[in-house]
Symmetry: C2
């Protein structure tokens, strides 16, 4: 079936701050490498793994739609299933964006309401059937051989044979790599290895109270600044925003503790009109997104080009790349009419 491409997300946000000017000849940019990928290197995202969050229109009356891709197994599946349950029960509808903390997170959910009779702040009742997850589920064990022994001394990406995903040097773990389109950190101990998804820009996590609480999925946040990697292994990551990120990242910052809006700023809270799983929508209204396979030849070339920019603007290749500075290419597509 023939596809028409619509938009490129993620990677489009990483071109250079040059002024408008004709470019001299140069090597292909990371975007150009991605755009030349063979169609079979793109993987369609299942409708069950796409959430469509519709915010109230902005002050100018413009629609604001955010699309979230949910994380696949083996990670965070209990929380992910809770999120589907919350969406199907329409629990998110009518909740609010309550917190915008600069260079950190945007958080949305139930702000609670003051009951005049009880005088208490009461929470919106949750639907039945939500799972309670354990802290151990923030990480997963992996085979030790997944980890490259020499990556620590090497900050250029190590591209492995057989087009496995590249391995990157990491400031928080033994190394970092990709699997099935998602970024992970790998930590090797003498007798075992752990693997966990990382808090890159646009990743979506589950707000929680103090341990042992692990959160239900009713309270969600996304990263709007430099990757707060210290949250890795301390909170469940459940997905990432693949479209409409600017509707959250450009919201006014809250002046309360942790960036929560104060009572005086209540009018700044952005209403969430609805959250739907794409599979709940009529065929014609479902968003269609695909990601570039992280185990393919093109992604390996893209990661190397991200670490060593040779397109015209650049004069010194970096010689390395942070896992969160190699965003997995995700793009929207639509089926051509009559095909």
């Amino acid at each position: 079936m023939k596809k028409h491409l619509l938009t490129l997300t993620a990677i489009a946000a990483l071109t250079s701050p040059a002024l408008a000017q004709d470019a001299p000849e140069g090597a292909p940019s990371p975007n150009e490498i991605v755009n030349a990928a063979a169609p079979e290197e793109w993987v369609a995202i299942e409708a069950e793994d796409l959430l469509v969050m519709t915010l109230a229109p902005d002050a100018g009356g413009n629609a604001r739609e955010v699309v979230i891709q949910l994380m696949p197994a083996p990670f965070s599946q209990g929380w992910v299933e809770n999120i589907r349950t919350l969406a199907r029960s329409r629990w998110y509808d009518g909740t609010l964006v309550n917190r915008v903390q600069d260079n950190y997170v945007v958080q949305w959910g139930d702000p609670g309401y003051d009951n005049p009779e009880s005088g208490e702040t009461e929470a919106k009742p949750l639907p039945e059937g939500l799972q309670v997850m354990a802290q151990e589920d923030y990480t997963a064990r992996v085979p030790v051989e997944l980890i490259s022994p020499d990556i620590a001394a090497n900050f250029n990406p190590i591209v492995r044979s057989g087009w496995q995903a590249p391995i990157l040097r990491d400031a928080y773990a033994s190394s970092a790599t990709f699997e099935s389109g998602w970024p992970f950190a790998l930590l090797q101990y003498p007798d075992k290895s752990d693997r966990w998804p990382v808090h890159c820009y646009g990743m979506v996590g589950v707000g929680r109270n103090y341990s042992p609480d692990t959160g239900s999925g009713a309270e969600l946040y996304t990263v709007i600044g430099h990757a707060p990697r210290h949250l890795d292994r301390n909170i469940a990551l459940v997905g990432r925003i693949i479209s409409g990120m600017e509707h959250l990242s450009s919201l006014p910052r809250g002046s309360g503790t942790l960036g929560f809006y104060t009572e005086e700023e209540a009018d700044k809270r952005t209403p969430i009109l609805s959250v739907r799983i794409a599979s709940e929508l009529p065929e014609g209204e479902r968003p269609l997104f695909e990601y570039l396979s992280t185990e393919g030849e093109t992604f390996a070339r893209y990661a190397e080009a991200r670490a060593n920019r040779r397109d015209p603007f650049f004069i010194v290749p970096a010689g390395g790349a942070d896992i969160c500075n190699v965003p997995v290419p995700v793009r929207a597509y639509e089926y051509a009419d009559g095909e």
Copy 2:
């Protein structure tokens, strides 16, 4: 002279996304460690190194002031001096924020205007006396012994004796560290070492055209997303935003190429009313800021706590920290009345 503290910037943006709840007992947070620093560990920033950029009021009529700290020697001093010349000549007054690219940069300067007679887009004439800098000035040579030989294998911060600044593992260089309150990357070659300032959130750089152009300082940008470290050594960094960052990071994103506002979005461009060096302002109107010495005991303890959070929200210490996730504490102060 006695000081009254006003606001904490930078580090305040890195607390956890927990819901409001009483905290259980725990080890001190990075912020608590910083707040307990001895007064003599705080270094006052010279008025010559502070730029006050006043934006037009927002839609609600609220004032928007941004304070930029300029970078000290030995880095980028040619561009920094150009920026002082541009500010003293009032060149920046009346320029605009022309570009807002999500997870990348906000850029301001002269958008150029279309001359109806010539039919050309003409640039605002620059003042005389601006220096032309060389690409070599993006980096500096450093003594080889500055670099720890074992940092590559160790991702926990290496705190050096005599309270030198901690050394961090880095995905872009042999290591990363701090000096005089600024973050740097260090790259060791067999026969030499290079050092350069890094593109962390809030750092301010000089827009340029294609090489060999290095920019004058008339076109500036700041980072509003994950650190675009691939720009290190490719563009001059001249400072960082230490107050009012939210006035830039929350601006609406541009829909044109590279996030520039299109002609149809011209009304979204934020006017820059004035840019003044603090030393140009009357004594009583000068902003007063100080940074925590990066060579002191408190900063070493702060960096270690950033890498291994033990305050109540956290259950697993990260065991490492990215240089841009250890923001140098900067705070405003004022002199107490009558002292």
